[in-house]
Structure formats: structure tokens, C-alpha cells
């Protein structure tokens, strides 16, 4: 077993630091696709520069896989053009919808977990994969409501969408925890129901407790219960890439890096444990 394939989200506030080519144990970076698809400006120049030194994942927020209206005109073409330029090792987006033709709400909106919604997202994912011709992942999202007409659990819906479409899953452990608290299910059940072979990447992030619900803000360090959940799943991840997302109140790069190193340490301990390797160091001279 080699080191954890740990990465972080590439954010503009860290560009100056990263362009100085600092020494880091990070193995890869994830870029938000839409920030680069329509720009020929400095962000794209920086992304291309980063790509020369690291593998890059392209993570979208606007594909709107679950929209009944289909993909927006030109979206897949522009995304593919970016991918052809960056050559990401994986591409992903969310299992949600983001608006209607009348208006994009720029949010990861919840789907009802119904047969109709499942059939729709499976078709869309297949359409995206056929067009992009690259490995594609769908991510579970945080939600603040559910729909009474749902006939699947969230995890069954997610797994079934991946299985039927042939894509894999970007497992966001923070989103699992947020939804478990918001909707009252056992987060470990969710994680246990996702087959290892379907997990293509893992996200970790921080949430905000709003008093009435947990809100997926990506503005804080990863919370202790989310670290514990990550520990629950880390032992079976193998070389699956893991990354830290931080999008609001983004800290200095070393703070983000420290979160990533914590994830790598948990991954290592869990993998050692799984391999039967002792967790604590043997003291010199000890028996």
C-alpha cells in the first residue's frame, strides 16, 4: 500500500502560493469546471500551469443531470473542450438539478427518489459519458428537504443510478453526515450500502450548524463526526482519491493542507489496521 492519493480544491486565493511551486505532499488538485469553461483569462493559465505538475480532476456544479429540460445548449461541448485541454484524470458533477430554462438557480437542488427521476438521471449520465468519453462520477448532495413521493432511499437511488449508467460515485462524506442529521438516518448505513467498487473519489468538507439544520457551507474544517465517518470507510478505499473542499472563508493554504494531511493519516491508520499492521509504534527495547 502506498500513500493516500490526497488532494484539495484549487481556489483562486491560493494561486499566488501555488505558482511559487511549494513543496507539498498533495498528489492532485480538483478544479471547478465552470470557472474555466468560458474563460481564457488568468485562472485558465494557472490551471494549465498546475496541470503540468499535478493530475487534475474537473468537478462541475452546473451540469444539472436531474433536470427534466436536459443539458443547457453548448454546456457539454464547452466542458469537453476544457477536458480536452486539461486532460483530467476524472470528471464529476452532482446528482441534482440546478434550475429551469427560465432561470438557473445556481444551487444543487434535491431530486425526489422516484423511478421517473432515476430513469431520467441514468439517461443523462449515459449521455454525458458518451459525449465526454472520460471516466465520470456523480456526487451525493446535501439537502434540506425531501419529497414524500420518494420510493428509494438516497443511497439506493445513488447506487442504482451509478450501476445502471455505468458511472462511479463521488462519495461526499460530509454530505452523507449532513443529510443523516437533517433527515434522521444512520450515516454508517448509507456508507455501508455504497459498494467499494463504485467509489471513484471521496470529498471531505465542513458544514455549519444552523440550529434548525446542518448546512453544507464548505467554510470550516471537517467536523469530528465527519472524520469518524471517513475513518469508517477509509479502510476499504484503497487508492481511491480523497480530497478536501473549502469554498467560503478559505484559509491560508497550509491550513487546508493540514486538513488533507489529517485525512491521509486516518487513511493510513485504517489501511494499516485492515492489513493487520499495529497502529502504535513499537517502543525501542520493548517486548
Amino acid at each position: 500500500m502506498t500513500d493516500c492519493r490526497i488532494g484539495v480544491g484549487l481556489r483562486t486565493v491560493h494561486f499566488p502560493h501555488l505558482l511559487g511551486k511549494p513543496k507539498t505532499a498533495l498528489r492532485w488538485f480538483e478544479a471547478i469546471s465552470e470557472n474555466y469553461m468560458d474563460s481564457q483569462g488568468r485562472p485558465l493559465t494557472v490551471l494549465e500551469s498546475m496541470r503540468r505538475d499535478y493530475p487534475i480532476a474537473l468537478h462541475g456544479v452546473s451540469m444539472s443531470i436531474g433536470s427534466v429540460e436536459g443539458f443547457r445548449p453548448g454546456y457539454l461541448q464547452r466542458l469537453k473542450a476544457l477536458a480536452d485541454r486539461i486532460e483530467p484524470f476524472v470528471m464529476s458533477d452532482h446528482l441534482c438539478w440546478t434550475g429551469t430554462a427560465q432561470g438557473n438557480l445556481h444551487d444543487l437542488l434535491p431530486l425526489p427518489y422516484t423511478q421517473e427521476a432515476l430513469d431520467l438521471v441514468v439517461g443523462r449520465i449515459q449521455q454525458a459519458q458518451d459525449f465526454l468519453k472520460r471516466p465520470f462520477l456523480i456526487e451525493n448532495v446535501s439537502t434540506y428537504l425531501t419529497f414524500p413521493q420518494s420510493t428509494y432511499t438516497e443511497w439506493d437511488f445513488l447506487v442504482e443510478a451509478a450501476r445502471r449508467s455505468g458511472c462511479r460515485i463521488l462519495l461526499d462524506v460530509n454530505n452523507v453526515y449532513v443529510n443523516a442529521v437533517n433527515h434522521g438516518f444512520d450515516a454508517r448505513t448509507f456508507l455501508d450500502k455504497v459498494p467499494t467498487e463504485l467509489i471513484g473519489q471521496v470529498h471531505l468538507a465542513g458544514f455549519t450548524d444552523m440550529g434548525t439544520h446542518l448546512f453544507d457551507t464548505h467554510s470550516r474544517p471537517v467536523a469530528d463526526p465527519v472524520w469518524e465517518l471517513f475513518g469508517h470507510v477509509a479502510g476499504r478505499l484503497g487508492q481511491t482519491p480523497v480530497m478536501i473542499e473549502w469554498d467560503e472563508d478559505v484559509p491560508e493554504f497550509p491550513v487546508l493542507e493540514a486538513q488533507a494531511m489529517k485525512a491521509a493519516q486516518i487513511w493510513k491508520e485504517k489501511n494499516d489496521e485492515r492489513a493487520g499492521f499495529p497502529a502504535a509504534a513499537i517502543r525501542p527495547g520493548g517486548r
Partner: protein
Amino acid sequence: MTSELASLQRRFAQAVVDPSAEAPALTPGGTLTPEGAIGVYRTAYPARLTEQLCETFEAVWSVLGDEGFFRRCREHIAGHPSESYNMSDYGREFPAFLAGLPESGRFPFLAELAGFEWTFKDLFHQKEHAHLDGTALGQVGQDSRFVFGAAVRLLRHRFETARIWSGRKERLRVEPGRTERVALFKLGGEIYFRTLEEPEFALLEALRDGGAVGAALQASEGLDQERVGFLFAFLAESGMVEAIR
């Protein structure tokens, strides 16, 4: 679009942008009420677009102050849904929206300032063109014609808008009736601008519009040899010219 899912999405989206619209049946998360649960999405939508307007129109924000700017953002968002998948596209209509507001009486430069900020952002995302160096520019003949790069804008302002933009963090005094001519360009990944006197600016416009160098110089009034020399030096430094035909 008559399916159950289509109906749900249409009603959900309507309930997010219009608080008076009835949301579809839902089960709220946490200890939220149904209204509170849809409210999470209802709050996030204008917040994201306002954040985008703040980022693009920083100088307008500074002129109007927090209260005035955020009120106008709310009104703009209510009447102008975001149609693009890219949030960065939001705000194209904001300058025209500002032009129709009473504040434009007190700050007559407001819409022009917003337009300048939008152009600035537009140029930021523009591909940087190849820059012709000074040696090539020094060898032009009377019949030569310049091809300006895509990341160049020549702007005639009715007010000293670029100066106001530069002083957006200081609250500059605005002199009424003073106009401005601005060359905005991208160089080395950064956006720069320079204000020019009318004769120099008119010559730049003539060259940008494809006029032959000799004819453009002949038509220019009030420019002596020295000022022409300075203008050509600026053309070389700014990298505005991409090619010579």
C-alpha cells in the same frame, strides 16, 4: 413536460424565486418548517447572485454604499433571472438597470461606471492576443494597417469614469462635465488602462478601425511629431497591436 417530475421542478423553482408561490409537497429536514426548508434555497439564490454583483461591480457598490447597493441588487435579481449556467455571466444587464434609477440623477456616471466594470471583467476572461513588439511597429510604412488584438477596448466616457473607478476605495470628488477617453488592454494576464487626450485617442480609433497609418496621421489634428512618437511608444508597450498588414 407533463410528468410528475417536471411539474415538481417547475413548482419548486417558482417557489424559490417567488415567495408567494406555493411549494410542492415536501418533508423538511432537521427542525425546519416546510416554509423554512424551501427558505434555505430561497435565501441562497439571491445571496449567490448578489455575491456575483458585488464581485463585478465593486466601484458601483462603493458609490451606492451597502444599503443602497444591496437594495438595488435585490430589485435587479427579482426582475432579471440568471439564464446562464455560468454565474460569472450574471450582471450584463445591471448597467442598463442602473441607468433607469433615481440614483443616476445624483450619480450621473453610475451606469457608465457599471459598464466599465463589466467591460473590465469581460476583458479579464478574454484570451490574450499575441503582442507585436516595438521593432515591428517602428518599421511601418504609410500604407501599413494595424490589427488590434481582441483584448483591447477603446472607450469614450461621458464622465471621468476610469478615474472614479481607480479611486473607488477613496471616494473621489467628481468634477461634472469632464469627459474621458480610455484605452483598456490586457498584458501579461493583467488588465491595464490609460486615459488619452482627444487627438491621440482619435488616431488610435482610426488605426483600430483599419485606417492606413499615413492616412490616419494625415487626418489627425493637433498632434506633432513628438506626440505621435509617444503614442507609438505606448502602442508598443501596451501590446495592443497584434499584427500589421
